[in-house]
């Protein structure tokens, strides 16, 4: 990172502090462990020299039921996860899955080419690829040794 504070790490730290206060943890629970509290959808982000990839777990959703917006360095993934129609006449005996409206806001601390952002959906996992702007890419500078 170019600057002293990694904003993502900082956000993560704040989030985990908050989760700690609320009695949750981070990430998905291991088998048998208590369920952590974290806002739906659980999201990872990866960075390489060319792009940033934001990956969100959205099981049961399709590309037309999710809205992806990018504005001023903020990526928003929003939508609604509803119970399938067949459960309307049924009683719930266990409810662990998140339901209803969701909105996930992710700060992208690197300049990206906003018109080249692409997204894909596979097996309930959304991947948003944000190509870095040329000026944000690392450059190799060769120093001539005299």
């Amino acid at each position: 990172m170019l600057w002293g504070i990694d904003p993502w790490k900082e956000l993560e730290r704040m989030k985990s502090d908050l989760d700690g206060m609320l009695g949750g943890g981070t990430g998905r629970s291991h088998y048998g462990a208590p369920k952590p509290s974290m806002s739906f959808p659980l999201t990872n982000a990866y960075e390489n020299k060319d792009d940033i990839r934001v990956v969100a777990e959205l099981p049961g959703l399709t590309s037309d039921s999710v809205n992806i917006m990018f504005n001023d360095g903020i990526l928003t993934i929003a939508g609604k996860r509803e119970a399938p129609s067949e459960v309307r006449e049924m009683s719930a005996v266990r409810r662990e899955r998140s339901q209803g409206d969701f909105e996930k806001i992710i700060e992208i601390p690197v300049k990206v080419e906003s018109d080249k952002i692409s997204a894909s959906f596979e097996n309930g996992i959304l991947t948003v690829v944000l190509p870095k702007a040329e000026e944000a890419k690392p450059r190799q500078i060769t120093i001539e040794v005299k």
Binding site: R28, L42, N44, A45, V93, G124
Partner: protein, 132 residues
């Protein structure tokens, strides 16, 4: 109806412990909703990253419903934010004798697994006529 096996103590699940999936990485417990009516039990299981055909649903020797699913999601380098980890999914439930375990149907769509366990005909609720 459906009782979760992990609540019955470690001994019960030892034969189907997460490690037996394949040993690669930790096993995760997927989020599950269970619905019921007079005809059936319906399980909704979140399995993000799992491909159709990769899910294994078996009835073990005690007739427990055991769900195992390896993830197809490939972890990448350069993580800057991590809220989920990837690995195989595992969950097991004990289902009451009122349900017909030979007629279980399941399908996976967009990472959401639906399992329907029909109620046995003789166990279905009946309206009892009251003679005047």
């Amino acid at each position: 109806m459906a009782e979760e096996l992990e609540k019955r103590g470690k001994q019960t699940i030892s034969s189907t412990a997460p490690e037996s999936i394949g040993g690669a990485g930790p096993a995760f417990s997927p989020d599950v909703d269970i619905y019921v009516n007079g005809d059936k039990l319906l399980f909704l299981v979140d399995l993000p990253g799992v491909r159709k055909g990769d899910v294994s649903i078996v009835l073990d020797e005690q007739e427990n419903l055991v769900i195992k699913a390896p993830t197809a999601f490939k972890e990448r380098q350069g993580t800057t934010l991590r809220q989920f980890r990837t690995g195989d999914f595992f969950r097991a439930f004990q289902i009451s004798r009122d349900y017909d375990k030979d007629k279980i149907e399941a399908n996976l769509d967009n990472g959401l697994l639906k399992i329907v366990v029909p109620r046995k005909e003789e166990s279905k609720p009946r309206a009892i006529k009251i003679n005047a």
